[in-house]
């Protein structure tokens, strides 16, 4: 068993003529909190889609806990959890039903399901809302429920796509409190993408910055800051240094529309 839980080797993805991901290599260690940054269109979400088995790479491979995403996608699916950026719980079902759906799809044995559901509900402070329809929930509660759904089967790696996008600062802090606790209790590796530099700086052990389909920098926040050779550099400075732009300058119509839609629904 290697210490690296995610290993990406020479990963290449082309969409007809466009190369979205150009032969990238990186590793993520067990129980690490790993931030995956980059401007929109940098190839971030393509890379994540390949790692969670939604997309086949053109060449190269990725492994999760030594299981290949190409040769053994069904094995990989059993040991990962995924929280999409958009709202992925069903508002017309109760919190309990949303969790039961996942418990059954993840083959948690019948004798264990009720206990697991109660356990995750109390863990994220939603026990009282167990039988309420999810459409009555606030944005923070929805995100917490989604995280609960993704950890029911105790995955080795939890993938989160902008987990705090659209949330207010208090809800953001609360989400991270829970995520770090999950890591502490279960040793879960947390792989997340975000647009909030302060957040990435605060919570992550290591950071990768993706730019134009390549990994332009990888390391601890301190290492990346040091490379900018600027006194009192922030992660934002490092980001600009490695990508040549700040995040505010990037993004297209579709991304912005989607982000605003999520914000509106969560808010």
């Amino acid at each position: 068993m290697s210490e690296d839980v995610i290993v990406v080797k020479n990963l290449l993805k082309k969409f007809s003529d466009i190369v979205a991901v150009q032969n990238i290599n990186f590793d993520v260690k067990k129980s690490e909190v790993f931030a995956f940054l980059g401007p929109n269109g940098a190839g971030k979400s393509t890379t994540i889609k390949i790692l969670i088995t939604l997309l086949q790479p053109t060449s190269g491979d990725g492994t999760i806990d030594n299981l290949s995403v190409i040769d053994n996608p069904s094995g990989v699916r059993k040991i990962i959890g995924y929280v999409p950026q958009m709202i992925s719980v069903d508002g017309t079902l109760t919190a309990y039903e949303n969790l039961m759906l996942m418990a059954k799809l993840y083959d948690i044995p019948g004798s264990d399901r009720e206990n697991r559901i109660d356990e995750v509900l109390s863990f994220i402070d939603l026990s009282k809302q167990k039988n309420l329809l999810v459409r009555t929930f606030s944005g923070g509660m929805i995100r917490k429920l989604e995280i609960a759904q993704a950890i029911l089967h105790r995955p080795a790696v939890l993938f989160l796509d902008e987990p705090t996008s659209g949330l207010d600062p208090i809800a953001r802090k609360n989400i991270w409190k829970h995520l770090l606790e999950i890591r502490k209790i279960y040793g879960t590796t947390i792989f997340f993408s975000t647009h909030y530099m302060d957040e990435a700086e605060e919570v992550s052990d290591r950071v990768a910055i993706m730019h134009l389909g390549k990994i332009s920098a990888i390391g601890t926040v301190e290492e990346l800051k040091a490379k900018t050779k600027k006194a009192k550099a922030t992660l934002e400075d490092a980001f600009i240094y490695f990508t040549g732009s700040s995040l505010q300058e990037t993004g297209n119509f579709r991304d912005i529309r989607r982000t605003r839609e999520v914000e509106r629904k969560l808010g």
Partner: protein, 257 residues
Amino acid sequence: MEYIRQIIYKSYVMAEMEVRKLLHDPTELVTRAVQPILWLGVFGEALSKVRAIPTGNVSYLQFITPGILTQSVTFIAIFYGIAIIWERDMGLLQKLLVTPTPRLALVLGKMISAGIRGLSQAVIIYIFAIILQIKLNISVVSVTGVFLIIMLGAGFFTGLSMIIASLVKTRERFMGIGQVITLPLFFASNAIYPIAIMPTWLQIVAKVNPLSYMVDGLRALIVTGNYSMLPHDIVILVIATSLIALVSTYMYPKVVI
């Protein structure tokens, strides 16, 4: 073996959640009943006075009842394509695809869900037919047969709509295409007039249209009682639905790309 068990069990789980949704908010079933009631109560009543369409020894209202039931079921099933796009936009679909659930089970789950909604329409149409005093055969055999044909027909059109969704990828385009497909399929079938009165080219379309076999089977079961063509109708629907389930299983995960 384990794979087959997974497919059956997880199709059931997906359908179970759909039923739970319906139980939380059953108003949808009532609003969906408006259209078939209008077709029967207004269109059917009016045309039965004209006596322009040769329907053999059954009344025109008897003749179109299975056609209206079929239309109602296919409209529900076609809606599942939009639901898939909607679930993709919400991220729900991605989350389901990332679970260790066979792709085929997700398709079958949707097919069964559409079938269950379709069955609720059958109940409403039976009740309305009784109110309008349309004479229908109601027996264990006929109700079981109706159940089977609705599940198969709903399955076929759900599969078809999921394939369309994976090609068009947006709600707006789907709505355009959905209209273009459902209405011609309805009119190019034996739902509201017999195939015999159609021009030859339309007869050919009607013969390859799975909707015709659905109507034919339902008509035998609930109106004429002549079961001679019933096995033929059911075999065609089983083959068509199985084929479309396989194509759909291959196609619809592409909607997330």
